[in-house]
Each structure stands twice: as C-alpha cells, then as structure tokens.
C-alpha cells in the first residue's frame, strides 16, 4: 500500500507528468502534421510540436529539489522567439503561395505537372461535396 502511494507520488510529480504530456503533444502535432492538408493547420501542428518540446525541456528542468535549471529555461525562451518568427515567415509564405496558386492546401500525392493549378483547386472543392461556383460571389448585393 505504502509502495503504491510512493509510486503514485513519484509518477504524478511535475517533473515526470509534464514531460509525458509534452511527449504526447509532440506526437499529436506529428499526427496532425501528417493528416491535415491546409497549410495553416500544418503550421499550427508544428507549433504544437514545438510547445511539446518546450514542455519536455521545462519539465525536465523542474525535476528534483531546488530551483529549476536556468539553462533549459533560457534555451526555451530563445526557442519561443525563434518559433514565433518562423511562424510569421511561414504564414507570409502561405499567403504568397495562395496568391500564386489560388489555394493554401498541400494536396496528397505527387504533383501532376500537366494539370494547371487552377484545376487542382477546383477539384478539392468538388471533393468535399459542394461545387465551387466561380460566379456565385458576383450577384451578392453590395
């Protein structure tokens, strides 16, 4: 009984609980990165993976007695600023890609060089059930 309580206390200490959650976040982000196609969602998935890494770092830093490891915290701080700059750059790239090709979606399969980009974007709209109607925006009252 005493052994069980001890194991439980050991398992639920922040130094072990948070790194575990960080690993779960990393795996979750990886899963989302593989399965979702919209580039903004993929950037969010990458950010979630990054947060998982930060959580592992900070959790390991907070292990044991005494104050947490300042080197790991400083590295995380650096990482957060780098992550936000990279996110901003990636989002700028997505906007530019959308301007050039008309969609912000990474399509499955190898790119087909013969098909114009416009057609690919129409296909996605048909695929999810509602046909794209290029003229529908025009008879909107302004």
């Amino acid at each position: 009984m005493n052994g069980l309580a001890e194991t439980l206390a050991h398992t639920l200490a922040p130094g072990l609980l948070y790194p575990t959650a960080g690993a779960i976040l990393f795996a979750l982000g990886l899963y989302g990165l593989i399965r979702r196609h919209h580039l903004v969602l993929r950037i969010l998935a990458l950010n979630i993976m990054g947060s998982g890494v930060f959580m592992v770092l900070l959790g390991v830093a907070a292990r044991g007695e005494g104050p947490p490891d300042p080197v790991a915290q400083a590295l995380t701080l650096t990482g957060i600023v780098v992550a936000v700059s990279a996110t901003a750059f990636a989002l700028a790239l997505v906007v530019h890609l959308t301007r050039l090709t008309g969609h912000a979606v990474m399509l499955p399969g190898p790119p087909d060089d013969d098909v114009p980009v416009e057609d690919i974007s129409r296909e996605t709209h048909h695929a999810d059930g509602s046909p794209a109607d290029p003229s529908s925006g025009e008879d909107r009252p302004s």
């Binding site: 947490p68 080197v71 400083a74 701080l77 957060i80 901003a88 790239l93 996605t124 109607d133 925006g137």
Partner: protein, 331 residues
C-alpha cells in the same frame, strides 16, 4: 494541498492536450485559430506550474498578443485572395460570409482521407511511445543549476536566466537575434506589404482604449526590461510586449500614419545584432573571447545590448506582422 496541486496539474494537462487535439481536428480554420489562442493561454499556466515565470511572461506577450493577431490576419488575407480569384474582380467590400459560395472554402479544410489514418496513427504512437519511455528512464540530475549558481557573481546581473542569456551563453542570444532578422528578410523577399488599411474608428471606444493601452504597454515594456536584471523579465519579453503594442497600433490606427522611413527602420532592425557583434568582437580583441566581457563592464554592456535587442525584436515582430518590404523605398 499537494493532492490539490496534482489535481490542478492533471486538469490543466488534460485541457492542454484536449485543446491541441480539437484544434488539429477542426475543419473550420477560424475555430482552429481560436483554440490555438486558448492553447497558448493554458500553456502560460503550465509554465507557471513549472516554476518558469520568465517563459510564462514571454508566452503571455507572444501567445496573447502576437500569434493570435498574426493568425487571424493571415486567415483574412487568405479569404480576401480567394475571393478575388473566384470572382475575378478586386475585393472591394468585404465578402458576404452568409452567402453559400465557395469563398469560405479558403478557411475550410476537408476532413483527412481515411487511408492515411492507420499509418499516421502508428507513426505518432511509435514516436510518442519512444519519447515517453526515454523520458521516464532518464537519470535524475540537477542539470546545470549549481554551475550557473556558482558563477552568478561574475555575470554582472542577479537573475540567473538573464545571466545565461546574455553572458554565459550569449552566442545563443546573438544567433537568435540573427534568426529573427533572417525570418524578416525572408518575408521581405516575398514582395511589398499588404498594409492593413487605416480606418476611422467607429465610436470613441477604440481610440480611447488605444490611448490608455499604448502608453501603459510602453511603460510595462520598459519595466519588464529593467526587471530582467534581478527578477523574471528581460529583452525578449519586453520586445514582445512592445511588438504587440506596435501590432495593436498597426491594426487599430484611425489615420494613415506616415510610413517609417527606410534607413532608420533598417538601422533599428539590425541594431541589436550589430551592437551584439561589436561587443563580441571587442571582447575578442580585448582577450575575453568572442562575446566575453570584462567583469567590471558586464552589467553596463548587458544593459546596453538588452536595450538594443528589445528595440530590434519589437520592430522585427511588427515588421513580420505586416509581412513585406515597406513601400516607397525602391531606391
């Protein structure tokens, strides 16, 4: 007390993982972005629990102020580009979002195909399982805390994280400032910016709030920068706060402000890296090694670098938010 703390940790972590999962499972991008903003808020609470108030401060400024605004504005840019391409005419008034048309597809991602489910799940489970196993079997160690603690008296500051960032591992910070600058150069290489138009604010509330918030943000930024030498705070957090205030100003300004002229803007953006490099080279010449300081000079030099780095980070974050080279500097 301890049981309650464990319960708090468990609820918080369940919330964080749940929010991340729903965010990545959303078909509606707006929903995903709001969930991501909430994710940032919960993360800040987690950093507090991990005794990392410095990180929580940075997460608060970046998560609440910068990432949210960046994602929301990106969504609107995508919507506006798609609207223009689909109607074949410039997007003049905002598109009517209640209309049943393909415009909204810009902010929509269909659910993923079934055939990627098993491979993706297996891969993620294997990677996650390996990570958890590795973390659970990691030997106990105190990390570098005793080493940092033993050298605090030569660092020139009283806050261990600032000492690590600007003295013991200054090259990290130097390269990080360079990366921020490179990200900005990348964004500028994509062309000129889409300026969010200045608009007369409807009603007195928004200008009133701006008049309250922007000065308080500047004071808070300076305070956080000053606090960094002895308590949680420092150049990144202060830069993020000032950057968020700048983004607020870019978003909400009621009149077209005069464009920042090219040369001072570029000087401000590169100031942090340039000053850091100069100090580093001086250290090399004076025999303290690259990015080393003489002990007596450590405090003033750290403060000098931090001020320049704060300004550079704030300017770079605002410029990254605007995304694109400033107009009117073809020369």
């Amino acid at each position: 007390m301890n049981g309650l703390l464990v319960l708090f940790d468990l609820v918080l972590l369940a919330g964080i993982v749940g929010v991340a999962w729903r965010c990545l499972a959303s078909t509606d991008l707006f929903r995903a972005v709001v969930l991501f903003i909430t994710f940032g808020l919960l993360l800040a609470l987690a950093w507090v629990r991990l005794e990392a108030p410095d990180i929580a401060l940075a997460e608060a400024a970046i998560g609440a102020g910068i990432t949210g605004a960046l994602l929301l504005v990106t969504l609107e840019r995508l919507r506006s580009i798609m609207a223009e391409r689909h109607t074949g005419r410039p997007h003049t008034p905002p598109p009517d979002p209640t209309g049943p048309h393909a415009l909204l597809r810009a902010l929509h991602d269909p659910p993923p195909e079934r055939r990627t489910f098993l491979p993706a799940l297996t891969f993620a489970l294997v990677v996650g399982g390996l990570l958890v196993t590795a973390l659970w079997h990691q030997p106990q160690s105190t990390g570098l805390e005793p080493v940092v603690d033993a050298h605090m008296d030569v660092s020139g500051v009283d806050h261990p994280i600032t000492a690590v960032l600007l003295n013991f591992r200054a090259y990290d910070t130097f390269l990080e400032l360079a990366i921020v600058l490179i990200a900005l150069l990348g964004a500028w290489s994509l062309g000129r910016h889409d300026l969010i138009p200045a608009r007369p604010a409807p009603g007195p509330i928004l200008p009133g709030t701006l008049r309250l918030l922007v000065p308080v943000a500047i004071v808070t930024g300076v305070y956080v920068l000053w606090a960094g030498s002895h308590a949680p705070g420092g150049a990144f957090q202060a830069g993020a706060i000032l950057g968020a205030a700048g983004i607020l100003l870019v978003l909400a300004r009621p009149r077209q402000l005069p464009m920042a002229p090219g040369a001072p803007l570029r000087l401000g953006l590169t100031g942090g890296v340039a000053l850091f490099l100069l100090v580093g080279l001086y250290g090399l010449v004076a025999g303290h090694g690259f990015l080393g300081y003489a002990e007596a000079w450590a405090y003033p030099l750290i403060i000098l670098i931090e001020v320049a780095a704060t300004l550079s980070i704030a300017l770079a974050l605002v410029a990254l938010f605007v995304a694109g080279r400033p107009t009117g500097d073809d020369a």
